[in-house]
């Protein structure tokens, strides 16, 4: 009997002793950062850029693991269940907040299952249309949409996608209902927009900047507070008279509940350095996204953001009446 128990007990003791004590020497081995989406997507790109820079600073490799599925909730629940030792992290975007409402049966408690490391970046959205779409500016677009609501098709990349959230917000701000056309991902949606098969879409600058610059789509506004360096001619939604449309696809790094505060603090400090890494800054700029400030790249900054965003999206999603389960 005790032969079986001994290694178990030893493991338990080692775990107890080593848990907090190790925080000082953290990290001693490679860290896994889970991205809850497929490799190659915008969130994956953000993760890999940040992880590479943080690896250099921490002196340990950060392995990016793609655990896609169910709108990011599969990856998130995997991290929620992981050992809270700082060696399993999660980089998730705004979906962390919206899935709290979109999914009525989540396998984790959004606000209580994680420790926070910090916000990473805020990717703005752009309102774009097929290139021969009639309205020429945002004001014209608003009038045109209100007058022809039942003739206009609005694309999105699937339930819970950034384009879906932005589309819902657009319709709720304009108090109108367009014919929404879901796609499986941003690629096919953009294809149909380029081919003129569908009229309107609101999507992340990561996907639209090149198309806007190449004049293959018509752009109306950007949903950030300030104009973007990458697209200086594009007015903001506030300038166009729709301040409520201000929305960004924010990304944050989380750790499982119970991860020592020393560890999250250390990671947060490393994240702040990564966000000033010239390579990260320039790549982010090319994508039309801006790293957050030091104050936001902290546990408190992410906690506040997540809590306010859960509250913000609840009524918008409930009003649309579409759930992901």
């Amino acid at each position: 009997m005790h032969r079986l128990l001994y290694p178990l007990a030893a493991t338990a003791i080692v775990a107890l002793v080593s848990g907090p004590a190790n925080a000082a020497g953290y990290p001693e081995r490679s860290i896994t950062m889970v991205v809850p989406f497929a490799a190659g997507g915008p969130t994956d790109t953000v993760t890999r850029l940040v992880a590479e820079s943080m690896s250099k600073d921490l002196g340990q490799q950060i392995i990016v693991e793609n655990v896609g599925g169910a709108g990011g909730t599969l990856g998130a629940s995997q991290v929620a269940k992981a050992d809270p030792d700082g060696y399993t992290l999660l980089l998730h975007h705004i979906g962390m907040a919206t899935s709290a409402t979109l999914y009525r049966k989540l396998p984790y408690d959004t606000l209580n299952a994680f420790e926070y490391v910090g916000l990473v970046t805020d990717v703005p959205m752009t309102i774009v249309a097929k290139k021969d779409f009639e309205p020429t500016d945002m004001k014209g677009l608003i009038e045109y949409v209100k007058a022809n609501a039942d003739k206009i098709t609005l694309a999105n990349a699937g339930i819970g996608a950034a384009s879906h959230l932005c589309g819902m917000l657009f319709m709720s701000e304009l108090k109108t209902a367009l014919v929404t056309v879901p796609y499986k991902g941003t690629g096919p949606a953009m294809t149909d927009l380029l081919g003129g098969q569908v009229d309107l879409m609101c999507d992340q600058t990561t996907n639209t900047t090149k198309q806007i610059k190449g004049s293959t789509v018509k752009a109306y506004a950007v949903t950030s507070a300030k104009r973007l360096d990458a697209l200086p001619d594009l007015p903001t939604v506030a300038e166009a008279g729709l301040p409520g449309m201000q929305v960004g696809i924010w990304h944050g790094i989380y750790a499982p509940k119970g991860t020592p505060a020393e560890v999250t603090q250390k990671l947060s400090a490393s994240l702040q350095k990564a966000l000033k890494d010239p390579n990260v800054v320039s790549r982010f700029a090319e994508l039309g996204t801006v790293p957050v400030t030091d104050a936001e790249a902290t546990p408190a900054g992410l906690k506040a953001k997540l809590e306010s965003e859960v509250v913000r999206w609840k009524p918008v999603i409930e009003a649309a009446g579409q759930y992901a389960d």
Binding site: P7, T11, V64, D83
Partner: protein
């Protein structure tokens, strides 16, 4: 003409089609059907499930016209050892880690053959594990833990 005979193979096949079709139909019936403009999630599957049932019935009708051939032996030993192998890998890869988990999986699968001797199996699977670790873990850099937490690390 052949004398009247009945293919049990086709009968089972037809019944299987009907059973699967009914399963999907019942599931689809609980979903919203929608309209032609906005088809619901149940519309298309229900149509397909109906088609599968219909095809199952045709297979059964044809079963009476086809001359039958024997089903042949069933690989019981294979079923017993091959099918659990990937399941074992799934159950242990996170806990035991890549190396021991793969070794056990290969060993289990090896015994699906009556010809496999224990010595040969150990040697073969050992080599296989070594090859896989070199190729997948080191060369390709798959993010697997080589030895998992169940082994104390």
């Amino acid at each position: 003409m052949k004398s009247f005979s009945f293919s049990s193979r086709d009968l089972i096949c037809g019944l299987l089609f009907i059973a699967i079709g009914l399963f999907f139909a019942i599931q689809a019936y609980g979903l919203e059907l929608g309209t032609a403009f906005r088809m619901g999630p149940g519309y298309f599957p229900l149509v397909l499930a109906g088609m599968l049932v219909l095809l199952g019935i045709i297979v059964i009708i044809q079963a009476t016209q086809v001359e039958h051939e024997p089903m042949g032996p069933i690989a019981w030993r294979g079923l017993l050892f091959i099918l659990p192998a990937p399941i074992l890998f799934g159950l242990t890869v996170r806990g035991l880690g890549f190396v021991p988990s793969l070794f056990l999986t290969g060993l289990l699968a090896a015994f699906a053959s009556a010809k496999m001797r224990p010595g040969t199996a150990l040697l073969l699977v050992g080599g296989l594990t070594l090859f896989s670790v070199v190729v997948f873990s080191y060369a390709l850099g798959l993010p697997f833990r080589r030895f998992g937490p169940w082994l104390g690390q």
